[in-house]
Amino acid sequence: MSPSVVHDPLVPPLPGAETAIRTTTCYMCACRCGIRVHLRDGEVRFIDGNPEHPLNKGVICAKGSSGIMKQYSPARLTKPLRRKPGSERGAGEFVEIEWDEAFALLEERLAHIRATDPRRFALFTGRDQMQALTGLFARQFGTPNYAAHGGFCSVNMAAGMIYTLGGSFWEFGGPDLERAKLFVMLGTAEDHHSNPLKIAIAQFKRDGGRFISINPIRTGYSAIADEWLPIRPGTDGALLLALIHELIALGLYDREFLVRYTNSGQLVNINAADDEFGMFVRTEVPKEEGCFDPQDKLWWDRTSNRPVVTHSEGADPYLLGEFALSDGTRVKPAFQLLKERVADYTPEWAAGITGIAAEAIRRLAHEMGITARDQKIELPIAWTDIWGNEHDTVTGNPVAFHAMRGLAAHSNGFHTIRALAILMTLLGTIDRPGGFRHKAPFPRPIPPCAKTPNTPLAVKPNHPLDGLALGWPAEPDDLFVDDDGAPVRIDRAFSWEYPLAVHGMMHNVITNAWRGDPYPIDTLLIFMANMAWNSTMNVVEVRRMLNDRHTEGEQRGEYKIPFLVVCDAFQSETTAFADLVLPDTTYLERHDVMSMLDRPISEFEGPVDSVRIPIVPPTGQCKPFQEVLIELAGRLRLPAFVRPDGTRRFCDYPDFVINYETDPGSGIGFLSGWRGKGGEKFMRGEPNPRQWEMYARNNCVYQYKLPPSYQYMRNWNKGYLEWSQRNRIQRYAEPILVHVYSEVLQKFRAAAQGKGSSRKPPEHLKARLATYFDPLPFYYEPLEVQRTDLEKYPLCAVTQRPMAMYHSWDSQNAWLRQIHAHNHLHVNPKVARAAGIDDGGWMWVESQWGRVRCLCRYSEAVEPGTVWTWNAIGKAPGAWRLTPDANEAERGFLLNPLISEELPGETGDAPISNSDPVTGQAAWYDVRVRIYPAATDEARVTAPQYAVVPPAPGTVVDPPRRLAFFAGRKRR
């Protein structure tokens, strides 16, 4: 031991440096934790979690801890760029221009489109937490062609649950692990809110909770599960239906919950010949009609043995049986129909599909049912239900679930997720302690009130869109189609093909626009989405489409998608295809809001929203995308952004956030906290000129805590519903009964069967609609699987993102790429050996759409019918300013060339999207593949290889070969 120390480790590393700590909100992924940014002489020295923040309570993840390398990345775009005249699109040759020129160019082009045919401008964004502004811009512009990335991410999760429970996992609800005893996770590796979920799972396990993971792969959270049930991809629906079968067969359901809080007891017309077949029977037209379920349905009362209006005083409905109304109409309670539906979905049946033994399925059902029933929680919280009944306690059945893309990204995902929501309901776990809990602004009516227009007449030159570009159809008349039933939107969302495509279908935009079907467009503006790379299916072909020109006719020689604008902070694979590149800022350089009008960061206890404030000045000439939109909106004189005399209402984005109101004088704006002249109001109040300052002073976050009596049972909680009505979170204070039986779906089916008074689908889609708009969940093989030769392509292939890069936008990050610089295809050793592939050897993985050469890694943590890899590690050579020989380019790969964005149509003519037929969710995980070794004389690089992306002007041409980051030193 040496007592004398020369290099004193305690001496300040940079004596005399000026230090400062600022708070803001992270954006290294979609989780949006509170962070503290430590500056040293103006340079970012350290980013840690803000202990005062309700979301992450001081912790931070690998991505958040690597924000410094994002900020100082050599791939940062710093100047607006225009494609070099005469150069090929995709070649990545650009000239620097000034913002004035960029704006003038856009103004001229967009003004012309707006004055002629606003549909020809399409705005699609990769990140969907800025939709309050991007959606407003698109609507004010007048185009229906707007969406964020939800359609290719996890819209089945949002739609499947919201159309059932009025809320969903995600930002809008989650598992209450603080009180749960059993936690079942399906199809999730890592998820947002990622840090809160990690905090909660760890605490849950420490408190002795039991954690079961159902997943083809054991990584991430599944690694610490008490039990791992490997399942074949795309078969979760079969498992969930078998669990429902078993719970009903054994009486392990919460009867009181089903009776009071769901539509289980409501009577359904089962006279097949009736126009009203499959609909709930009703008493009379309600006094008030609106966006809610009127309480005009019937129960068959056990006491009086006759039909009564639901929730009648003293009534108790039959849940099973068949009855006849006085007019002869045969009816059954919804629960009877559910029981009949799952009659054949036995554990033995599911075992053959899922690969999980029948005994294990039974045991799982019993664990859930017994835990829910016997470990009840009674919280001493008095509350009043919407029917006026007072309750002394809040009850909880402590079984919690979480699920995400593993269930969602299949073409049968919507019904799978409906089945999950119904399973959670049978166990009586909805918005109760230890189960699923909502986060404001949810729960909302089923479906929520927002609607798109339902006619192409809503699109008018020089006029805002008459409705929202995205909404929640409640019936066929809500579809956004023309008189012939053809889609109005470029992505065909809200058409008869994908009626509940509530997040749009970004994955089909480029293909549809290239084909000019349903119509060609002029300008495609993409924000923060890598649509020429990992965010697109069929990546090789889509890149060709972006570069494809007309070969005949008037437009000969012109690009099929005439003008492509990409806004991004980095030089991605997609920026290379742009005609105009707009350099965005990083999250540390701008104002942002996590708005209550969009996807806030609410907690179970009440609404929370937050902001970002600039910590460091913008790099080069980069400009926040929000500022670009505000500027363009002013130049185009979009009504919400200008005064009647045409002058601008808002000087910049911060000014807009403070002063914009949804309607003049509505008092509702982007931020809910510190409203009112002095900041004394919440949710609704006059604009507060010091609102930013107040957020900045309070850790950039506003949290509203509801009184405990409003924190549970919110679908039916009088106090909560009236509070949310008073605060204009929703218009109505009506009960939101769980839709065990979905009349909304039945309305579409009825239209397909020629019933009802709504408009009817085109002939060729009737069978499809009648099949998939089943009011009860059912299991079917994913559409692509139905169209695959399974003898030839027997294996499932799926991807996930590693935690260190989950949802992150910069795997070029100098620190994170040292964790994952290239990826392997993980294969069960038995399967790999049978195919003659070595551990670490080169191999081919091939689907009916394409093939990829990659490296194999043996893994005992994947079920033998599945192969998988980390997504988005592979990069095009030179992109993101990595050297062309970087591991990402030579050894990294995407599975995207194996996945098609389209499938052969049902009748063999027009192709259909490779998507869920209900929601248009991209079916990433349906692909089937085979594997074989690469020949010994083949190149030792992944295939396909892509063209080298040259450095864009404004990025660092020669990124350093040696980095020794030490904050503050540069400035000395």
């Binding site: 031991m1 040496s2 120390v5 020369v6 290099h7 004193d8 480790p9 305690l10 590393p13 350290f46 840690d48 979690g49 202990p51 993840c61 690998a62 958040g64 801890s65 690597s66 840090n195 990690k198 760890a202 909770g209 954690f211 690694a223 610490i224 008490d226 791992w228 009486g251 392990l252 359901y253 068959w300 056990r302 039959y318 849940l319 009855f323 019993h366 664990e367 017994i370 260190a804 100098a814 620190w815 040292q818 964790i819 610089a821 893994s859 005992e860 943590a861 079920e863 990595l882 050297t883 970087a886 990124p959 350093p960 070969r961 040696r962 980095l963 020794a964 980051f965 030490f966 904050a967």
Partner: protein
Amino acid sequence: MTQLALVIDLNVCVGCHACVTSCKQWNTSGSAGPLTDLEPYGKDPNGAFFNRVQTFEVGEYPNTQTVHFPKSCLHCEDPPCVPVCPTGASYKRVSDGIVLVDYDKCIGCKYCSWACPYGAREVDPGRRVMTKCTLCVDRIYDPALAEAERKPACVMACPTSARLFGDIHDPESEVSRAIRDSAGYALMPEWGTHPANHYLPRRKTPMRMHEDELVRFDNPLKIDAALPKPPKSDPSLDDVMSW
């Protein structure tokens, strides 16, 4: 005598790497920095990290465990890296047991990394000096930090609180209690290095069920499976049978 250490709970570590990069960002601009990265944007990027997570699989499908194993200097009580150092650069602090490297004395000969059975030391590829975990010695005594934050960066960051920090010689410390209560173990005790850092093993929470729990007097099927009674006014044999 104090022996500071980390206790890492493998029962909750999900392998997110928060500890890896929070360590990197703290230390690269701290008293142990800068930590060099070679080819940060090129082929085979390779930099100095004080802490890495190794992921490995145990067992055969389907009885597979995926283990995420964070590893940094274990601050051995009898560190083999110290006596082999020819310049005295590698030393163990008497006051708190932290093993450190004095960069001003280190000649980059790597004897210490050969002596370390855990592979916990890394030569900084730029400075050519031996680097390793310092337990954030420049945080844990820093009076400018709030007391609750005088912990290593990795401990502050860890979203699952899988990393505990404290004095394993104090039997009442959080770390000592965790080692006692949760069967904490040291790595490769046979080497006699007495690592100060400990690991807590995976612990499985089972559920015991009994068959009779499926048979209950309050089974709702007793209500729902009961058939409805016909109305008394419906026709019946009572109306026609007179004898």
